[in-house]
């Protein structure tokens, strides 16, 4: 492709990023296996004690959010490091803290039977009705806190680097271009805009998260200290929603960078693009009240705003990002391979995943669908077909960019298998939600079992597909290590 010279050459070898991706990939597989086991138990296919089920629930949520965030931040770091100077030390420190945190949560969950779900809704960690004790709760909450500290340090560093290069976070979002002070052609690259957005929202989320984690820890140590539970709930969802949501805003950087290279068409950060990202920054931070629509004790205007903002939050992706991805691919003569196919699929997953969320954010709908399996239906599409596809798309891209390793028929088979079966999982959840199946139930009545069984079986195929993806990446790592390491700093042009 003749036009590729416009793109800056990418570092071919980034061991830190590769390590972080393979760890995330492994954690995703483990997390998915727990997911399948839960669906199988709900479908009556296997026997699982209630304690076991809710421990699996807790580890599944923690592992999935954790690995999605870890992989997505590696994607963001990899591309952002081509534009600004990031600290390798901080990147490595984040991984160490992540692993430490994960080990603590695992010990808390499986050795001390802690099972509050990853949302640790105050005051559940302290009041378990005898299911778990102080040690388990402190290990889990402490692990989450350490995990959060790692990510916080990472985003402080990205913020620092962006401010150093571009002057301020406002300029990182291209506000001077929006205001007309600077020409569109001098706008910050899409990667920088997205990274700035994530830096802002995630520093806010993690600060809120730290506060509410400490609240829970205090109440676990001494239940005499009480806090306002509604405020705690607000902070919990502010943290949880933003942090989970931000994974896709980091991972989408892979879409910008990779699709533009594959098609030889530039992904320009023009005014509508910048406005869309500023809107996303703002909305992502304040949209979380849609998790509290069933709390009529909340001020009514906040809840109505929760619905309105949820709708508004769908606009940037529907009109700018997804549309941009379609436009760049349309009649581009793109040569499809594993990387580009997964990336393209991810945009479908994201866009389609927005739909059930928008439907459920209407208060009248939420009244009969909140906390049914409709909600996991939405975020399994959004995360499972969105973030996960971006993540593995990036991994295939890295492998292709950095080695001679060819993909084969098995990889293609895995792609089809993953795409169809993950879609099956999502649809099974949505159907469950439509027939009022509550989420987070260890067992189902017979009427609810059918979709859960379909979900469990689809889930097995998802695990097989993802395992093939990971194996390809493992083959790449081993093949790469055999070759000379002297090319460590070599920079190659892509494709």
């Amino acid at each position: 492709m003749a036009t590729t010279h416009k793109y800056m050459p990418l570092k071919s070898r980034d061991d830190k990023v590769v390590t972080q991706m393979i760890i995330s990939g492994a954690v995703v597989i483990v997390g998915m296996i727990f997911g399948v086991l839960m669906l199988a138990a709900q479908g009556g296919l296997i026997e699982l004690s209630a304690a076991g089920f809710y421990q699996f629930l807790t580890i599944h949520g923690t592992a999935m959010i954790g690995s999605a965030a870890l992989a997505a931040s590696a994607i963001m770091w990899y591309f952002l490091s081509h534009y600004v100077e990031l600290s390798k030390k901080v990147f490595n420190l984040n991984l160490i803290l992540f692993l430490t945190g994960v080990v603590m949560t695992i010990i808390g969950i499986f050795s001390f039977e802690y099972a509050s779900a990853w949302t640790f809704l105050y005051p559940l960690p302290a009041l378990s009705a005898g299911a778990w004790g102080t040690t388990g709760a402190l290990l889990y909450l402490g692990g989450m806190l350490i995990l959060g500290v790692g990510f916080l340090l990472l985003y402080i560093d990205t913020g620092r680097a962006i401010i150093k290069k571009y002057g301020s976070l406002g300029k990182g979002l291209g506000w001077d271009v929006i205001a007309g002070k600077k020409a569109e052609k001098d706008a910050p690259p899409a990667t920088v805009v997205a990274s700035t957005m994530v830096t802002i929202v995630n520093i806010s989320a993690l600060t809120a998260g730290a506060t509410v984690l400490i609240v829970n820890m205090i109440s676990v140590i001494n239940p005499a200290f009480t806090f306002n539970p509604l405020l705690a709930k607000n902070l919990t969802y502010a943290f949880g929603h933003i942090f989970a949501n931000a994974t896709i805003y980091m991972a989408v950087i892979a879409v910008y960078e990779i699709l533009a290279r594959y098609t030889g068409r530039p992904w320009k950060a023009n005014k509508p693009f910048l406005i869309a990202w500023t809107m996303s920054t703002l909305f992502t931070m304040i949209v979380y009240p849609h998790h509290l629509l069933m709390d009529s004790a909340m001020p009514k205007w906040i809840l109505i705003l929760g619905q309105i903002l949820s709708y508004a939050n769908g606009l940037p992706v529907l009109i700018i990002t997804a549309y941009g991805a379609l436009m760049i691919v349309y009649k581009s003569g793109i040569k499809w391979d594993m990387g580009s196919s997964l990336i393209f699929l991810s945009m479908f997953g994201w866009t389609a995943g927005v739909v059930p969320a928008l439907v459920d954010s209407a208060i009248v709908v939420n009244h009969v669908m909140h906390n049914t399996k409709w909600v996991p239906g939405h975020f399994h599409m959004y995360m499972g077909l969105g973030v996960i596809a971006m993540m593995f798309g990036f991994m295939y891209f890295l492998a292709k960019n950095d080695s001679q390793l060819k993909t084969n028929g098995l990889d293609k088979f895995a792609f089809v298998l993953y795409a169809l079966s993950m879609f099956g999982v999502c649809v099974s959840f949505l159907v469950s939600g439509a027939i009022s199946t509550p989420r987070r139930f260890a067992t189902h009545i017979p009427e609810w079992m059918g979709p859960a069984q379909v979900g469990a079986i689809s889930g097995i195929f998802v695990v097989i597909g993802i395992t093939i993806f990971v194996l390809h990446f493992v083959r790449y790592i081993f093949g790469r290590n055999k070759k000379s390491i002297s090319s460590e700093t070599k920079q190659v042009k892509v494709i």
Partner: protein, 173 residues
């Protein structure tokens, strides 16, 4: 029923999105210059964007007309029955469990310990109303049953290991 509408609408939109993505994927193998495509698609985007915004505003106005947390206007002599509900790990204290069809009822829901969810299911196990049971707060469900039968109360917020068996029932005659 709301759930059916939600499901059909979602499925429809997801299929439309899937169709658009497939269409673009099929067309992707042709190779054309980008400039004219950009020009044409930006024009289409204006129309499409306006359409999406209008659709959303319409949906918003339509769905925000009546909210489940608004107290209905009761006619004179038709004062509602106020039912106190307290959730606990793992069960329900409900001050009154038998009602008549057509009777206005307010469930005032709170909890003795952790957060629970108060969900009312009809005989076919369809969720017909819910609210969160929050410590220190009282949330209200306004409801008038129009069919007799045995309704189930389920917990709709994860509250501990017996969350899924925290069931109770109310009878409407």
């Amino acid at each position: 029923m709301v759930q059916t509408v939600a499901w059909v609408v979602s499925l429809l939109f997801i299929l439309v999105i899937a169709f658009v993505f497939s269409f673009v994927a099929v067309k992707s193998t042709q190779k054309h210059d980008y400039e004219p495509i950009v020009k044409k698609w930006y024009k289409i985007r204006k129309v499409y964007g306006t359409f999406v915004v209008i659709l959303m505003i319409a949906a918003m106005i339509y769905t925000l007309r009546e909210l489940p947390f608004n107290q209905p206007v009761y006619s004179e002599g038709n004062e509602p029955v106020i039912v106190d509900v307290e959730a606990f790990q793992f069960g329900w204290t409900i001050s009154e469990r038998e009602f008549d069809v057509g009777q206005s009822i307010e469930f005032h829901v709170t909890t003795a310990d952790v957060t629970h969810g108060f969900g009312i299911y009809d005989e076919e196990m369809n969720l017909i109303a819910q609210t969160q049971a929050m410590p220190e707060y009282t949330n209200v469900v306004y409801i008038t049953f129009d069919k007799p039968g045995t309704y189930k109360v389920l917990c709709l917020e994860y509250c501990g290991l017996a969350h899924h068996i925290m069931m109770d029932q109310i009878i409407v005659k």
